[in-house]
């Protein structure tokens, strides 16, 4: 918080102890996944999961890169996740701006209607969406892969809630200065929404990055498979090469962590706050 408070050392110690324990709890499976990707098969299932492999091996990674064309599927995944994220941020932020800051008839009603659609479990609409794409001739195309997910009520809702907290005075000042609505959106609102846009970027990217069933059923050819689909296709029906599977999991998770690391830099204190004063 803003004011500097004197905190006793004891308080600090308890606080840090709490933080460290909670981090151990949240990180443990991830660390185990990382270390397991370097273990030999006999070491993976033991009575006590071990943090460090007794014998380090790169076999999991070697098998992984031998089994699938990693670069190809990585490329497919990047294309899918980046295009979906870019469209999603743009479309949803635009709609959210209209819902939060522009006046038009039926605004609240339309918004309520969108919220209602969010309450229908997504699983039942999957097949109808598939049939619509079929009728539009968009099966087995990037448009069919990306478009259905590029607008999301969840995202509109999230950004709208954030934008509503941005003081109206800023916009009024800009309008008086002769800014068009697009300029206000692009040059004022988006920068002010950096933390939430970063959050949406992370959510969209990770959603698309980990998506399995949709890219599998929309894309026909194996050379269009995204990374999770390609990795899943290595496993047998009953046999699982756990070392390889965990190596695959690390390769899939690493870019997601990277995106999050980049995005969380935008959680900068006081952009909006500074704007209010100025």
């Amino acid at each position: 918080m803003a004011t500097v408070k004197r905190c006793s050392t004891a308080y600090k110690a308890v606080f840090y102890a709490f933080m460290v324990v909670s981090v151990i709890i949240t990180l443990f499976p991830f660390v185990w996944m990382l270390s397991t990707s370097f273990k030999s098969p006999g070491e993976i299932f033991t009575r006590q999961p071990t943090i460090l492999p007794q014998v380090w091996t790169l076999a999991g990674y070697k098998n992984l890169f031998a089994a699938v064309n990693m670069w190809l599927h990585l490329c497919n995944s990047v294309i899918y996740a980046v295009s979906l994220t870019a469209l999603s941020v743009l479309f949803n932020a635009m709609a959210a701006y209209a819902f939060a800051k522009l006046r038009f008839p039926g605004r609240e009603k339309l918004f309520a209607l969108l919220l209602v659609t969010m309450m229908v479990p997504g699983q039942v609409t999957m097949l109808p969406v598939f049939l619509i794409l079929k009728s539009m001739g968009l099966l087995n195309s990037y448009a069919g892969l990306v478009l259905p997910g590029s607008a999301a009520v969840f995202a509109i809702f999230m950004i709208r809630q954030f934008m509503m907290d941005i003081p109206e005075e800023i916009l009024e000042a800009a309008r008086i200065d002769g800014f068009s609505e697009f300029a206000i959106f692009w040059r004022i609102m988006l920068p002010l929404c950096r933390p939430i846009i970063a959050t949406l970027t992370v959510f969209s990217f990770i959603g698309a990055w980990n998506d399995f069933l949709w890219p599998l059923i929309i894309m026909l050819r194996e050379d269009k498979y995204t990374l999770p689909v390609a990795l899943a296709s290595i496993n047998g029906q009953y046999n699982t090469d756990w070392g390889l599977l965990m190596a695959g999991a690390v390769v899939v998770v690493a870019p997601a962590v990277l995106v999050f690391l980049l995005a969380q830099k935008h959680y900068i204190k006081g952009i909006a706050a500074g704007a209010v004063k100025g």
């Binding site: 038009f104 959510f203 999050f260």
Partner: protein
């Protein structure tokens, strides 16, 4: 989105059949699953060498999504020429009219169909017509620890039921702790093997159509009276005498339990040989396989895969050539060498690598008498009901006889087909009518009494809304209306690829759901899950976000990432770790209880503990998501507010109540609404960890919907479920909005 466009798309939805891809005469597309999908390349190369000019495109489909992929490929006109197909999926795809009949090809071919194992033939032949060729087979045998058996005084594995029971008792007595036999309470495959061994029959005479099946002569029935009860009685002894765990079958890692001797005996298939050799090399020489102990006769389970040709293939002669090549004894023996999959051809078994392998001898013995489950398209649904019936009976909730009668009634109900016919004109008219009702309702709702717009209207808003709203209209709104219409039809696997088979049934699905005990259990569990999970998760997220925002915290980026990691960690890794935490034999939670002097618990297989255990896991996995949203929102609170209240001498608690919380209002509201919606759609945890068991104590609405929709292809029924859940979520969200409005007025 205008009316015209909406209509045009709706009509397209019903009428459009895109043209077929043109035939390239010498190229074949072949799909195979998982490891087979990669290895089949080797077979394809041999075939290409022998048939110059032919090109075979092989493609690996992941097992996890294979069923969905094949169904959507058929529906989307994207099916390959040939595909691998699980034996239990055959009738479904036949019902969808997707498979090419093969008798014509077989009669003019040198392929000896009599060479296949009888159980492998069963899944390919329907009313004397072949629809596929057996590719490879698997069957179930006993895996046991020879050292522990010897310690109990047995140098040879028992050969019949009674001996096996005595052996299990001796085994349990001779060791400390653990059990004698890993016998699951809800595995239809294992139950069926015992039932068949006891002389039981399942859907013995299945005339088609199923209407009028099993006349009330007291003799014909889906299940054999008496045999079912005897089988249950035999298996129940193992549970009652603690030779097998009634609780705890699910959450133990089988290989580790086999190594420790906790489970010295289990039933599994041929893949387990290499699994044991690779994962537990230290056990080599201390285990063996044996044929299943015989009851009144021998019977194991016939699994494996077939190769099928799709009706849509434009190159059927060439496709047949490849299938014939793959199913023949020569290639079958080679395939074993490449993949370890057991040949379906008896001749192929004469090669030394197969006939000389002692561990395979028990498989070879079982293959002659192994049986495939009945060839009905509704099999998956029937199998699920067998699981439930057996589980209820061994838990002692109902008598074996009552379980059989209930199961028989369920099976008859599943198999009875509606004879209803509706004309195409009637169906199209009704669909359009049903489509127009919500569309008109929405239009009226939006146009009705114009909401008073404070100040001037800004038409430019349309441009901002256009992309998102257009996409949502096409890919969300129309599918929602379509699935709502589907909830009033009998849309099932017969109708997936053939619109004419769909008929309107009114509210039948909805009425049926309220008499479906599994659905009602799912509804109850879902509510419990949300009522406990949402407050815990939101409170935890807020607390963690505040901690992350605390001024004394250094290395904020690190902690932010750490809290978000559970959200992005692969579910597979998460599941393994949580299974270990909950392991009844050596899990961390039980170790902790032990330290405290409390009794160990079966976290995931105890009826009362399973749901709370999953809630804990879900909260762990999901709280980081909301934490990040709160962190983002905390950044936007102006420092000036804190400065001014500090000047008034406020302490940090007052800061929280008077500044932080009110400023987080909009975000918190969003988080609560979204989390409630998410928790009411609870799915991933029970799907991966418990499959809804034990005794449906962790079944959720969405999991049941997924099973009905994507496993049994009762799409109409699944859609109805979605709309009941929708009603529930709608009620909750409306309530939350009301509360928020009220709160806003009070502040």
């Amino acid at each position: 989105m205008t009316f015209k466009n909406t209509l045009a798309i709706a009509v397209l939805l019903f009428l459009c059949h895109p043209p077929k891809a043109d035939a390239q005469s010498r190229q074949l597309t072949v799909w195979a699953m998982g490891a087979e999908g990669k290895l089949i390349r080797q077979a394809a190369e041999i075939f290409e060498r022998r048939n110059p000019g032919v090109k075979i495109v092989t493609q690996a489909i992941p097992w996890t999504g294979a069923h969905e992929k094949l169904v959507t490929a058929v529906v989307g006109d994207m099916a390959p020429d040939i595909s691998q197909m699980g034996t239990t999926w055959m009738p479904e795809f036949r019902a969808m009219n997707a498979l090419e009949p093969l008798n014509g090809f077989i009669s003019s071919s040198a392929l000896d169909t009599g060479d296949f194992f009888p159980g492998a033939r069963e899944s390919n032949v329907h009313r004397e017509q072949w629809y596929g060729l057996p590719w490879y087979v698997d069957t179930r045998v006993m895996f046991y620890r020879t050292d522990l058996a010897a310690q109990a005084g047995y140098n040879k594995f028992p050969e019949d039921w009674e001996e096996f029971y005595k052996f299990s008792r001796a085994l349990k007595r001779s060791k400390n702790g653990g059990y004698a036999f890993a016998l699951p309470t809800n595995d239809w495959q294992i139950f069926l093997m015992f039932y068949w061994q006891n002389g039981g029959e399942l859907l013995k005479a299945t005339p088609v159509p199923y209407q009028g099946l099993w006349p009330s002569d007291g003799q014909s029935a889906p299940l054999t009276a008496g045999k079912f009860e005897e089988t249950i009685a035999y298996l129940k002894r193992f549970f009652d005498e603690k030779l097998a765990p009634l609780e705890g079958g699910h959450d133990t890692d089988l290989l580790t339990a086999f190594e420790s001797g906790y489970f010295p005996v289990f039933i599994s298939g041929p893949w387990m040989i290499s699994e044991l050799e690779i994962s537990k090399p230290q056990l080599n020489g201390r285990w063996a396989t044996a044929p299943l102990p015989a009851g009144k006769k021998r019977a194991s389970f016939m699994g494996g895969c077939n190769l099928v040709m799709f009706k849509s293939s434009p190159r059927k002669a060439l496709a047949w050539q490849f299938m014939e090549f793959m199913a023949g004894p020569e290639m079958q023996a080679k395939w074993y060498a490449a993949s370890g999959d057991l040949p379906s051809s008896r001749k192929a078994w004469s090669v030394p690598s197969l006939s000389g392998n002692p561990r395979l001898a028990s498989f070879r013995k079982e293959l002659d008498t192994a049986k495939a489950p009945p060839q009905v398209p509704e099999w998956e649904n029937i199998a699920g009901n067998i699981n439930d019936a057996v589980e209820e009976a061994v838990f002692g909730k109902v008598t074996a006889q009552a379980a059989r009668e209930k199961l028989s009634a369920r099976i008859e109900k599943i198999l009875v087909k509606s004879e209803r016919q509706q004309s195409a004109a009637f169906k199209i008219a009704l669909s359009l009518l049903l489509f127009m009702v919500p569309v008109c309702a929405v239009v009226l709702y939006l146009r009705g009494r114009r909401a008073s717009v404070g100040g001037k209207c800004q038409p430019i808003a349309i441009l901002f809304l256009l992309p998102a709203v257009l996409i949502l209209a096409v890919f969300l709104f129309i599918p929602i209306v379509a699935s709502f219409i589907a909830s009033m039809t009998n849309w099932n696997m017969y109708g997936v690829n053939d619109w004419t088979k769909i008929v309107f049934v009114g509210l039948e699905n909805y009425v049926g759901l309220f008499g479906d005990p599994v659905f009602l259990a799912g509804l109850r569990n879902t509510l419990v899950f949300a009522f406990i999970g949402v407050p815990v998760s939101v409170a935890l997220s807020l607390a963690m976000a505040l901690a992350l925002n605390a001024q004394i915290l250094r290395a904020k980026a690190f902690f932010r990432v750490a809290y978000f990691i559970p959200v992005i960690t692969t579910m597979v890794a998460v599941a393994i770790i949580w299974r270990w935490l909950y392991n009844p034999e050596f899990g961390l939670f039980n170790l902790a209880l032990e330290r405290l002097g409390l009794p160990a618990q079966s976290w995931l297989s105890n009826r009362w503990l399973a749901l709370p255990s999953l809630i804990l896991m879900a909260v762990w996995k999901g709280f980081g998501y909301n934490t990040i949203i709160f962190v983002a929102a905390l950044q936007s609170i102006p420092d000036s507010l804190y400065e001014s209240i500090a000047l008034d001498g406020a302490n940090s608690r007052q800061e929280f109540w008077y500044i932080t919380l009110p400023m987080l209002r909009n975000t918190a509201f969003f988080v609560i609404v979204m989390t409630t919606i998410g928790y009411l759609q609870f799915f991933a945890e029970p799907y991966i960890m418990t499959g809804g068991g034990p005794l449906n104590s962790t079944m959720s609405v969405v999991l049941y919907m997924y099973q009905q929709g994507f496993k049994f292809y009762n799409l109409g029924y699944a859609s109805a479920m979605a709309y009941i859940l929708f009603g529930l979520i709608f009620a909750f969200t409306t309530l939350q909005f009301r509360v928020q409005k009220k709160l806003e007025r009070t502040f």
